[in-house]
C-alpha cells in the first residue's frame, strides 16, 4: 500500500496554508449528497473515507504510523472547522472515536497493524458493545461472559443500544472474565468479529420509529485470545481512553452547527410573524444566550489546551449544556409551530419536512446515551468539585 502523505509532509506549515490546502481538498473531492437508500449510503460513506485515507487526509489526531495525520492540536481544530464548513461525511460507526484511542494506547503492535488502518479507511466498521439490559448507568455490573478455552474466549450474553450494529464488521466489547461480583476488576476488553458464528444482531425500533441501534446476542462466540486488548480482567481502565484532547478539537464546530440551527428557527418564526410576541422573543433570547455560551465555552476549552495543555472545567460541562440545548430548541420549535408542529414527514402540509418534530423525538436520547445526565452530574460533582462518593453505592 503506497499512501501519499501530502497532508502530513509539512509539520510546521502555517495555519493559513494548512487551512487553504484542506479547503481545496474538500472542495475538489466532495462526495456530494448522501444517497437515500441505506445500502448505497454506506458505500458512499466508505468511498469517502477511503479517499481521505488514500490522500493522507484521514485521522487528524492519529499517529502517522497507522495512516493518521498526527496534527498538532491547533491544526486539529482547523481540520474540524474545514470539515464542518465543507459538510463532508463524518466517521462511520463508533470505532474511530472510542475504540481507536484504546488500541493506539494499549494494543500490541500486531493489533495496531491489523486493525487501525482498515478502520480509518472505512474498510471495517466498528460498533461498541458496552451496555446490557441490566447494565446501563451501572456498567460495571455487566454479565456477558467470556470463558477461557485454551487460546480462545467463548463469549455468551447480550448487548443492547448498540449503534450502527447492522453495518458493523467488528464489535469492541466489555465482557466479564472474573466472578459475577468482581465488577470493574473482572472486565476484559475484547474485539469480536461481527460475522463470526453465534453473533446475532436484532435491530431495535427506537421511539422515533427508526432503527439506529440494535440488540446484539453472543451465543458461544469464539474469540481468539490475541483479540483481547490489554490484560485479562484489565479492560475497565481501557474503556475510556482518549488521545490527548482530540475530543475537544471539534467543539467549535458543534457550537457553529447549533448557531446555524437557531438562526434557521429564528427565520422560521420571522416568516410566520411570531417574532413580535414578547413571550416568543424571550424564549429566543434564552436560546441565544445559551448558544453563544456554548461557543464561548468551546473557545475557552480550546484556548486552554493551546495555551497550557489543559482543557479545564469547561470541557466537562459542555456536553451537559449542549444536550439540554438541543432538547430545548427542538421542543420550543414544535411549540412555536402549534398543531403544525405535530405533522410528520409524509404529510404534505408538514413544515420543513418535520425536522423539528423529528429532532424533538431524537433528542430524547441526548441525555441518556453515553451516560445519563444524572450520572454525568454525579461525575462532575465528584471529579471536578470533589464531593464525596455515595457510600451506599459500589466504589467507582
Amino acid at each position: 500500500m503506497t499512501v501519499e502523505r501530502a497532508a502530513t509532509a509539512t509539520a510546521a506549515e502555517p495555519d493559513d496554508a494548512f487551512r487553504a490546502r484542506l479547503r481545496e481538498f474538500f472542495t475538489a473531492h466532495h462526495p456530494g449528497r448522501a444517497p437515500k437508500d441505506a445500502r448505497e449510503r454506506l458505500a458512499w460513506a466508505k468511498a469517502w473515507l477511503a479517499t481521505l485515507f488514500d490522500s493522507g487526509y484521514a485521522g487528524p489526531s492519529w499517529p502517522r504510523e497507522f495512516g493518521g495525520m498526527e496534527l498538532p492540536f491547533a491544526h486539529q481544530v482547523i481540520y474540524h472547522e474545514e470539515a464542518a464548513r465543507a459538510r463532508v461525511p463524518g466517521p462511520l460507526g463508533t470505532g474511530l472515536n472510542i475504540a481507536a484511542p484504546t488500541i493506539i494506547k494499549y494494543g500490541t503492535q500486531q493489533q495496531k497493524q491489523r486493525w487501525l488502518a482498515p478502520m480509518l479507511r472505512g474498510d471495517t466498521v466498528w460498533a461498541q458493545g458496552y451496555s446490557e439490559p441490566d447494565a446501563g448507568s451501572d456498567l460495571p455490573s455487566l454479565r456477558t461472559t467470556a470463558r477461557r478455552d485454551r487460546e480462545e474466549y467463548v463469549v455468551t450474553g447480550q448487548k443492547v443500544w448498540t449503534s450502527h450494529a447492522s453495518d458493523a464488521d467488528i464489535f469492541f466489547a466489555l465482557v466479564r472474565t472474573g466472578t459475577r461480583e468482581s465488577r470493574q476488576q473482572g472486565i476484559t476488553y475484547l474485539v469480536i468479529d461481527a460475522h463470526a458464528p453465534g453473533v446475532e444482531v436484532r435491530p431495535l425500533r427506537d421511539l422515533t420509529g427508526g432503527h439506529l441501534f440494535a440488540e446484539v446476542f453472543f451465543d458461544g462466540v469464539r474469540v481468539p485470545v490475541s483479540d483481547r486488548i490489554g490484560e485479562e480482567n484489565g479492560g475497565w481502565q481501557l474503556a475510556r481512553t482518549s488521545l490527548g484532547h482530540e475530543r475537544s478539537a471539534g467543539a467549535l464546530n458543534q457550537a457553529a452547527m447549533y448557531r446555524r440551527v437557531l438562526t434557521e428557527l429564528e427565520e422560521l418564526a420571522r416568516e410566520r410573524g411570531q417574532l413580535a410576541d414578547p413571550l416568543v422573543r424571550d424564549r429566543f433570547v434564552d436560546l441565544e444566550i445559551r448558544v453563544r455560551i456554548i461557543r464561548y465555552n468551546a473557545e475557552r476549552t480550546i484556548g486552554g489546551i493551546l495555551a497550557r495543555g489543559e482543557a479545564g472545567a469547561t470541557s466537562s460541562i459542555s456536553r451537559l449544556l449542549i444536550t439540554a440545548f438541543e432538547q430545548d430548541i427542538h421542543e420550543f420549535a414544535v411549540d412555536l409551530l402549534g398543531p403544525a408542529g405535530l405533522l410528520g414527514k409524509s404529510a404534505p402540509q408538514s413544515v420543513q419536512r418535520s425536522r423539528w418534530l423529528q429532532g424533538f423525538l431524537r433528542t430524547r436520547a441526548s441525555t441518556i446515551g453515553a451516560g445519563t445526565r444524572e450520572i454525568q452530574l454525579n461525575t462532575v460533582a465528584e471529579q471536578v468539585l470533589g464531593l464525596p462518593h455515595d457510600p451506599g453505592m459500589p466504589p467507582r
Binding site: D282, E288, Y296, I317, L385, L387, P388
Partner: protein, 374 residues
C-alpha cells in the same frame, strides 16, 4: 480566546486574591458593614498605592498602568468573591472608565491621575426615580452659567448612585440645551445634597444625590454623549458581570465546602445526589458565566463589533447565575445559612442588587433581543 490564559493574568489574579484574603476577610467586611463605612482607609491605601489596582484601567499618560477591561475584570472577579467593601466599583469601573472613554483630555488630565493613585473617589450618576439607565429617561437639567462665573449649573435628583454618598467627584448625566451630557460636580460643592439609601446590599453603598444649581464642568463636550455613554454602558456591564461571577463562584465554593463536612444520616450531605446535582448545576452556570465574562471583556477591550451584545449577554447571564448560586448556597447550608452570622445572605444581597442595578431583568433581555437582531 486570549483571556485568562497569560501568565500575567494568572499572576494578577493570585496577587489580588491573596491580598483580599488577608485584608478583606469576612470579619473585616462585617465590621465595615455594621459601622456603615464605605472603606477601610489603610486597605484602600494599600490597594490603590502598593498594588496600583485603581489605575489598572487608566491610561499610562494619566498615571495608570494602561491595562483595560480584561485586567479590570480579573480584579473585579476577585473583589466580587471577597465582597470587598470599598468605593472601587464606583470609582474605577464606573466613573474611571467613563472618564477614560470620554476622549476629553482636559478632564482626563484633571481627574484620572487622582483615580489612578487612589486620592480621588468618584461616582457616575445616571439613574433617577425610575431606576432607568436610558438617556431618554434622564430629567436632571444642566444650564450654562453666564460669564464671568461660567461653567454649568445642574439641577435634579439622582438615585441608586453607587458610592455616591462619599465620592469626591460626581459625574452627573443631565440634559443640556443641546442634548444629554455629562457634568462633573464636586461632591462637597454647594447645592449638592446626598444621602446613603437604605437598600438590600449592605456591602455596597447606593446614594441619592440631589443637585440644586450645583456648579459643574462639562465633560466630553466634543463627543456625542449618546454614543460615548453607549460605550460606557458596555464597559460597565462587562465589569459588573465579572464581579458577579466572582461572587457566584464563591457561593459555590462555600456550598461545596460545607457539603463535604456537614454530616447527616451518618454521612456527608455532599454524598447525596440531590446536593451533588445542585452543586454540579451551579458549576455549569459559574463556568458558563466565566466564559461569557471573558468573552465580553475581550470584546469590549478590542472594540469588537459584538461588544455591546457580549456585554449585555454576560450581564444578563451572570445576574441569574449569581442570584441562583446565592440562593442555593443558603439552601445547601440549611438553617445555618439562614442566620445573620453566616455570610450567605451577604452574597444574596449583593447578587439581587447587582441583578437589578441597571434596570429590571426583563428590560435587559429586551435590549439583548434587539442587539441580537431577534
Amino acid at each position: 480566546m486570549s483571556v485568562g490564559y497569560s501568565a500575567e493574568h494568572d499572576q494578577l489574579r493570585r496577587v489580588v486574591r491573596e491580598f483580599l484574603s488577608q485584608k478583606s476577610p469576612s470579619r473585616q467586611v462585617r465590621r465595615l458593614m455594621e459601622a456603615g463605612e464605605s472603606r477601610d482607609d489603610e486597605v484602600w491605601a494599600l490597594l490603590t498605592g502598593q498594588l496600583g489596582l485603581s489605575g489598572i484601567a487608566v491610561p499610562e499618560e494619566y498615571g495608570g498602568s494602561g491595562y483595560g477591561p480584561v485586567e479590570l475584570g480579573i480584579v473585579l472577579e476577585e473583589m466580587g468573591r471577597a465582597l470587598l467593601v470599598a468605593p472601587y466599583f464606583g470609582t474605577v469601573a464606573l466613573a474611571g472608565q467613563a472618564l477614560a472613554a470620554s476622549g476629553d483630555t482636559e478632564a482626563m488630565r484633571r481627574w484620572l491621575p487622582g483615580i489612578a493613585d487612589g486620592s480621588l473617589t468618584a461616582a457616575l450618576a445616571v439613574a433617577e426615580d425610575s431606576g432607568s439607565w436610558d438617556l431618554t429617561d434622564v430629567t436632571a437639567a444642566a444650564e450654562p452659567v453666564a460669564e464671568p462665573t461660567g461653567g454649568w449649573a445642574v439641577t435634579g435628583t439622582k438615585l441608586f448612585v453607587v458610592d455616591g454618598d462619599t465620592a469626591d467627584l460626581l459625574l452627573v448625566v443631565a440634559r443640556a440645551p443641546d442634548g444629554p451630557g455629562v457634568f462633573a460636580v464636586e461632591g462637597a460643592a454647594a447645592g449638592v445634597d446626598r444621602a446613603r439609601l437604605d437598600t438590600l446590599d449592605l456591602t455596597r453603598a447606593l446614594a441619592s444625590v440631589t443637585l440644586q444649581g450645583a456648579p459643574a464642568t462639562r465633560v466630553g463636550a466634543d463627543r456625542d454623549a449618546t454614543e460615548w455613554l453607549a460605550e460606557v454602558t458596555n464597559l460597565v456591564l462587562a465589569a459588573l458581570a465579572a464581579e458577579q461571577i466572582g461572587g457566584a463562584a464563591r457561593c459555590l465554593d462555600l456550598a461545596v465546602e460545607y457539603a463535604k463536612v456537614r454530616q447527616q444520616f451518618g454521612r456527608p450531605i455532599g454524598s447525596f445526589q440531590a446536593i451533588k446535582h445542585k452543586c454540579a448545576n451551579l458549576l455549569l452556570e459559574v463556568e458558563s458565566g466565566r466564559s461569557a465574562v471573558y468573552h465580553a471583556s475581550a470584546a469590549v477591550a478590542g472594540h469588537q463589533p459584538d461588544a455591546a451584545l457580549a456585554a449585555a449577554l454576560a450581564y444578563a447571564y451572570c445576574s441569574q447565575a449569581f442570584t441562583h448560586a446565592a440562593k442555593e448556597c443558603i439552601q445547601i447550608h440549611g438553617g445555618i445559612g439562614y442566620t445573620w452570622e453566616h455570610d450567605a445572605h451577604l452574597y444574596l444581597r449583593r447578587a439581587k442588587s447587582s441583578e437589578l442595578l441597571f434596570g429590571p431583568p426583563a428590560r435587559q433581555r429586551t435590549r439583548l433581543a434587539e442587539l441580537a437582531g431577534i
